[in-house]
Amino acid sequence: MTTTKVAAPARRSGPNLGEQRKKDVYRRTMARLGWGFSAPALIVIAAVTIFPIVFSVVMSLSNVNVLGSGFQIDGFTLDNYNVVFTDSTWQYALVFTVGYTIVTVVVEIVLGTLIALVLERLQAGRGWMMAMLLVPWSLITVISATLWDYIYDPLAGVATQILSVLGFGHPVILGSPASAIIAMMIADIWKTTPFVAIIVLAGLVMLPGDVYEAAELDGANGWKTFWQVTVPLLRPTIALAVLFRVLQAFGVFDLPFVLTQGGPQNATTSLAILGYRAMFTDLKFGPGAAVATTTALLVVLGCLLFLRVFRSQVSETEM
């Protein structure tokens, strides 16, 4: 699975020492050239990521005074974290973000796998279906969020109309916490399930055909084949899709910003919305930085944990 194996260049002990020296000089020149080639990219990346991350951590651990002309960092403190961790809004945002991530990713993986299984059976038009699946993926989230906002509109919304025909009265879908959360999840599931389907489909297409023949010879039926042959072979692909999706879902910002503005009553306030609001609306840079830093830390820790679990799974399937 990993592509990180960097082969150590074999140092051949040549009979001619002069030849060896020449090679060493050449290698050093090439290494310097390598740094020259990568320097521009690495400098730009560091300036835009490493500097802000360090600055965010420092800011989250400092007393930050907001002045008319800007702000001032004044001494070490753990207050920001204390303020954040004891704030019920943050606690709710953490629970909401984790829950939202779990529910949407599980539904997207199941639905995406189902769609991939359907498309894999198609004998014609699979290319067109793939192209169609890319439309929601490439759609600007602000646009899809506005589209769903209109679909949920209390007066002109299609969803409202369908619900009222089904006998649910005339609900204000985005007006109550529970239905707003479900509505937001549906909008997310619509936009990103196709993305999962594409990844799973690509994995399905690459599965070797002979294992199916073997399963068929063994008398396994379709259901059994799916669970005992397809799913284990697909595991690395699905794990990749899960990783992509969890990372995205955990940082969710655009969708609630446009669809619900984090409401009603903070019901859809994700960690990113909370951090943004603390910094740009309330100008509380210290607590804002603490929210941002904790979120980033959770993402990186989750990622490392995932890779650990995932790696052991890969070696398991290789045995």
């Binding site: 990521t49 802000p52 007066l155 941002a292």
Partner: protein, 278 residues
């Protein structure tokens, strides 16, 4: 292979494919249909299923009453320049990390991976302050520089994987023929890694085209809004002009849809590169 030819199987397949198409395309249809309705049609309750009478008033409004032409131009400038920079810088870095004997290549690749998973919210406040101190708020470079940096790690990973696949003999031959390192990359290696460039390019472009948080935070002045910001700030607190927004959206979808359709295979290979490679 599995039995797929029974009549029941075929009908089931047809029904499930239709459901898939409906699931994906119904909201898209609704967006396009709404953009073609009259103002009364957009607000109609119960909703009009078809845009009758068809009207282009929303398209006219988006470009005349709102500054949508400017937003498109801004998005194109930012996305094209960022993508070009990502490909230029990423090609050299990816080549060096794939081929040249630098120490710590492994560490750099892991660091790039960690950086690429960082949520944007963790970077936004310090970057905002940095941009303000540089006097870069409401400028193209305020987005081009971060977009380039944030899309480079993925591009470097993709391109490095392609470079590793180029046979070393080709480079040796070029060197024996007297080509310098720059010419070797440009004339020998790059043509063999075009699919990788397409993949890295389409991903960088899509990410720049759709990015919202930074564009909103750094470039909220009307003259520098990109499409997502322009659309999010359309109208006012009381009225959301859905028809106009969807007309603008339909126009905004066109460039990216054409690119994605042309480079369909590159996109799919990029999405699955982690699973395919290694």
């Amino acid at each position: 292979m599995r039995n797929r030819r029974t009549v029941g199987g075929r009908i089931g397949l047809a029904i499930s494919s239709t459901l898939v198409i409906l699931f994906v395309m119904a909201p898209i249809y609704w967006m396009l249909a709404t953009s073609l309705k009259t103002t009364a049609g957009v607000a109609a309750s119960p909703p009009q299923w078809f845009p009758i009478p068809v009207s282009v008033v929303n398209y006219v409004t988006a470009f005349t009453q709102y500054n949508f032409g400017q937003y498109i131009l801004n998005s194109v400038i930012v996305a094209v320049v960022s993508t070009a920079l990502v490909l230029a810088l990423g090609t050299f870095a990816g080549y060096a990390l794939a081929r040249l004997p630098m120490r710590g290549r492994f560490t750099i690749m892991v660091l790039l991976l960690i950086i690429s998973v960082f949520p944007a919210i963790a970077l936004i406040a310090p970057l905002y302050l940095l941009m303000r101190n540089l006097g870069w708020l409401n400028s193209y470079q305020a987005l081009i520089v971060p977009y380039t940096a944030l899309n480079l790690p993925f591009a470097i990973w993709i391109l490095r994987n392609y470079f590793i696949g180029v046979p070393r003999e080709m480079e040796e031959t070029a060197r024996i023929d007297g080509a310098g390192p720059f010419r070797t990359v440009w004339q020998v290696v790059l043509p063999m890694t075009l699919p990788g460039l397409f993949t890295a390019g389409i991903f960088a472009f899509t990410a720049c085209w759709t990015e919202f948080l930074m564009a909103l935070s750094f470039n909220s002045a009307d003259a520098f809004r990109t499409i997502p910001v322009g659309i999010a700030l359309f109208g006012n607190a009381h009225i959301t002009p859905y028809g106009t927004i969807f007309a603008a959206s339909a126009v905004a979808v066109v460039p990216i849809a054409i690119l994605v359709l042309i480079f369909r295979k590159s996109v799919v290979s990029g999405l699955t590169s982690g699973a395919v490679k290694g």
